[in-house]
């Protein structure tokens, strides 16, 4: 495995790491940069727990070699509130208490941030399509929808009305 020195911009701060070129960004964040907010769920891009933003696009950091992340602007959960969409989402996530176990929520918040960056007023179908790659084993999905709607300043739908 070829070692290299990679210049990354994470949450607006430049950092440099010397590591294997094919080491996934997920493990560079967790093990080398001591940023554990980004989570390991499957290592195959199927669960979305490791979602980060690369130039505002949601990517699976477990499938992104560090060499491919170099030179791009990376946003992780630790810096999500620096984006206005991220800040609003995080506020709503807290206000309606979205998490149960909480393990998937960093990935959920970043996917939601990417969704609102691309589409400030998503329809219900667009919310589901935008979030469908992120598994929540506790199935907090009704609140994920609601928090996104509230952050996008759409009409509040609780999903629990009789």
């Amino acid at each position: 495995m070829s070692q290299g020195k990679f210049a990354l911009t994470i949450n607006r701060k430049p950092v440099s790491v010397t590591t294997d070129a094919d080491k996934p960004l997920l493990w560079v964040l967790r093990e080398e940069l001591k940023m554990p907010g980004t989570k390991f769920g499957c290592g195959q891009g199927l669960c979305g727990a490791c979602t980060v933003l690369l130039d505002g696009q949601a990517v699976r950091s477990c499938q992104t070699p560090v060499s491919a992340a170099a030179g791009h602007k990376i946003t992780t959960i630790e810096g999500a509130t620096a984006l206005p969409q991220g800040a609003k989402l995080v506020d709503m996530w807290r206000e309606i208490d979205v998490p149960q176990c909480g393990y998937c929520q960093a990935g959920q918040i970043l996917s939601a941030t990417a969704l609102l960056l691309a589409n400030p007023k998503p329809s219900d179908e667009e919310i589901d399509a935008g979030m469908n790659g992120n598994l929540c084993r506790c199935a907090t999905y009704l609140r994920i929808r609601r928090a996104i709607r509230k952050a996008a300043e759409l009409a509040d739908v609780t999903g629990d009305a009789a």
């Binding site: 959960i77 630790e78 208490d97 998490p99 393990y103 992120n134 009704l142 999903g159």
Partner: protein, 727 residues
């Protein structure tokens, strides 16, 4: 057991460890500078913040928030002065500390309140001495003591040192608040870690880090129960960063045997990759014959031969069936299931000076201590266990294989903290599975359409005539327990798989088969399932159950059935077709489990491509007199409903070939996704005069048959196998 005795049963103060109020426990926790410990759960800071220890594992069920609410209520605190921290796992001090069986609420409802009330009494005694007045003349509110006659008010912090010197009152005798005075219990409180979760703070087992931490990836025998015949780690050990390859016993094979190799390296990424360079041969001849195909054949042969064991036998079913006006027969089945917690199994340990320190995402950490002590041949008290937040439990982490394994690695590498982490395939292939099962039913109706005979031949897994873990079946399953002529017979098949508890264990499967078959009986009787349930449950009374198990009260059952029918305006399963003529239907299910009563209604539409879309779910539950944290209660029900829908709708099943589980990841073991859950899940709780009981589990079981019954109503197809698949 009658309801009255049940109520008393929850009152046992002994559920808190005998040492909870002992001086030693206070010393053990007196680490926060300036904070004074009053007992094992409570420390008062100089700033009048009150640090409350939360003793039970947090898996997303909200217990870490809820138990301190009980203490804070009786201690008369304002919620914003409360700081919550997890306690160590130590059952000698804290009593039972497990997340299982929806037991935390019933087991702690009184003891935690008593702990808070005892601390309040100690503060009052200290304040009375300080001010030279009678304790009875003092009042408390929002963390302050007041003396009305002299107009004095002071924060608890002013009396903390004095209170710490007071003798703790008898927990069983301490006075508790009347519920009408509750100001925290019954008010929605946001989860204790919600803010930290949204900040990406290290909370979970996988996030444990410390200087010098090294990492282990596992190579476990592909066929459960197989052992290492030989291995060669020479090439792997030459790789940069690889430190050791340690054979361990995951607690699944005989003492002295090993079934797992742990590859240890300076990073988990390195360890995981180095696994490919390790050569292992397995002793797995005994596991080769076990497969999904063999189990299906075994079940068919069992049905043909009849049951091995008479499990429940009331009256004369054969005679009752012979005399029935109508008989109904059907075969049902469900697969093995993995838990698929999103945080893969992991654990961190450090061995130094003959003692072990553990950081564990475990639902039953004190069991883990026992297992680990036995494996290492050390004393339980030489193991210190820190409780991390847990990225999903669902029963998987009631088993402590990861703790037992990391302990062996830590002991082999003394002085070095080491964390082991499963990858996703390890996690799915080395689970403790919900056992598969098969049921052959026969029921008889009399001329009036009443259910008069019922027979179940249940086939699942066991050894020597006994069920293996989580494969048991109640001999008092409704309606067997209310019919004069009813029986359950059992055949146990062998398996090499390890089985375990999955959220609402046994109930998640039994509810599907029993309430689906009851729907078939209702159809045959020309009525709907709620009506059949009313008739069969009969007058309000306690129904026969396993001695020592919670009682099923038919009146409480009928009330939630009425409740959900009202919520959903139930008029039967037929619904008018959708705007494009899509078939629609509605189904009902009721189940009693873990002391909780739930009736649920599901509305579905059959969409293009013959897919099932769940439109809306209604859930009506009775878990007693008090919903402690309403927002969390609603969320628990919604999550459980979605999880149950997932077991029904998505292709969730664990299959086996030559002893080896085939699932690799979430591609072939899918979880329900956001597109598949309903837009609305309406939740209502009936308040009844029973002590509060747990909510992690009982709302899950009824939604699975309600879904299957809705599919029948929409399509006429009776789906008798999980996962449900339309023809």
């Amino acid at each position: 057991m009658s309801a009255v005795i049940d109520r008393r049963g929850f009152m046992a103060a002994s559920l808190v460890g005998a040492g909870a109020l002992a001086f030693e426990a206070r010393i053990a926790l007196a680490e926060t500078p300036g904070a004074v410990p009053l007992n094992a759960f409570i420390r008062i800071g100089a700033d009048n913040k009150v640090i409350i220890g939360s003793k039970n594992p947090e898996i997303g069920q909200g217990i870490r928030t809820m138990l301190p609410m009980l203490i804070a209520e009786e201690l008369d605190l304002s919620w914003d002065q409360v700081v919550i921290e997890p306690t160590l796992a130590n059952d000698k001090i804290y009593g039972v500390q497990s997340a299982g069986g929806s037991n935390s609420t019933p087991n702690n409802w009184l003891p935690m309140r008593q702990v808070g009330a005892a601390a309040r009494a100690m503060i009052l005694s200290a304040a009375a001495k300080e001010w030279g007045v009678g304790a009875a003349s003092l009042t408390t509110a929002a963390g302050k003591v007041s003396h009305a006659a002299s107009g004095r008010t002071a924060p608890y912090a002013a009396f903390a040192r004095g209170a710490a010197g007071e003798t703790a009152p008898d927990l069983a005798k301490v006075a508790l608040k009347d519920p009408s005075r509750f100001s925290i219990i019954g008010q929605s409180k946001i989860g204790v870690d919600t803010v930290a979760i949204t900040q990406g703070k290290p909370l979970f087992g996988i996030d444990v880090d410390m200087p010098g931490l090294i990492h282990g990836a596992i190579i476990k025998a592909p066929a459960h129960g197989a052992t290492i015949a030989s291995h060669d780690a020479g090439t792997a050990l030459k790789r940069k960063g690889v430190i050791a390859v340690v054979p361990v016993n995951s607690n699944s094979v005989a003492p002295g045997k090993f079934d797992t190799l742990v590859v240890v390296a300076d990073s988990w990424w390195t360890a995981k990759n180095a696994r490919e360079a390790v050569k292992v041969t397995w002793d797995d001849a005994a596991q080769q014959g076990f497969s999904t195909e063999a189990y299906d054949k075994g079940a068919a042969a069992a049905f043909a031969a009849g049951p091995q064991i008479a499990h429940a036998k009331n009256g004369d079913v054969a005679k009752a069936l012979a005399g029935a006006a109508k008989t109904i027969t059907a075969d049902y089945s469900y697969p093995f299931l993995a838990h698929g917690t999103l945080e893969p199994q992991n654990c961190t340990g450090r061995w130094a000076d003959g003692k072990l320190e553990i950081w564990a995402p475990s639902q039953a950490p004190n069991n883990g201590r026992n297992d680990t002590a036995a494996m290492l041949g050390i004393k339980g008290e030489d193991i210190t266990i820190h409780q991390t937040r847990i990225g999903g439990g669902f029963g998987r982490r009631l088993i402590n294989d990861y703790m037992v394994m990391v302990a062996q690695v830590a002991k082999a590498l003394p002085g070095k903290p080491v964390k082991i982490l499963f990858d996703r395939t390890d996690d799915l292939r080395h689970d403790y599975y919900r056992p598969a099962g098969w049921h052959r039913f026969t029921a008889g109706l009399d001329a009036k359409g009443d259910l008069v005979a019922f027979r179940d031949h249940f086939v699942s897994f066991g050894k020597d005539g006994k069920p293996i873990r989580a494969a048991e079946m109640s001999p008092f399953e409704f309606p067997v327990n209310v019919l004069a002529d009813s029986e359950i017979g059992i055949t146990y098949l062998p398996t090499n798989l390890a089985t375990g508890w999955l959220r609402a264990p046994t109930s998640n499967a039994v509810s599907f088969v029993y309430q689906s078959f009851m729907d078939e009986i209702a159809q045959a009787a020309g009525i709907d399932l709620p009506e059949l349930m009313r008739r069969t449950l009969g007058a309000p009374r306690d129904l026969a159950v396993v001695p020592g198990r919670p009682v099923l009260h038919s009146g409480r059952a009928r009330a939630v059935i009425e409740g959900v029918c009202k919520m959903a305006n139930w008029q039967g399963g037929k619904l008018t077709p959708g705007p494009k003529g899509e078939k629609r239907g509605r189904g009902f299910g009721f189940y009693f489990s873990h002391r909780g009563y739930f009736a649920e209604v599901v509305d579905i539409t059959i969409t293009e491509g013959n897919n099932v879309r769940v439109d809306k779910v209604w859930a009506c539950g009775d878990i007693g007199s008090q919903i402690i944290n309403p927002i969390n209660a609603r969320h628990q029900v919604q999550g459980a409903v979605n999880e149950g829908l997932g077991q029904g709708m998505v292709e969730q099943k664990i299959e086996q070939v030559k002893g080896v589980v085939q699932a690799e990841s979430f591609g072939d073991f899918p979880l329900i996704r956001i597109e598949q859950v309903p837009r609305e899940i309406a939740v209502q709780f009936l308040k009844t005069d029973y002590p509060p009981t747990g909510l992690g589990e009982p709302s899950l079981p009824p939604v699975i048959p309600a879904l299957a019954n809705a599919i029948f109503a929409a399509t006429g197809q009776r789906l008798r196998q999980l996962p449900l698949k339309l023809a």
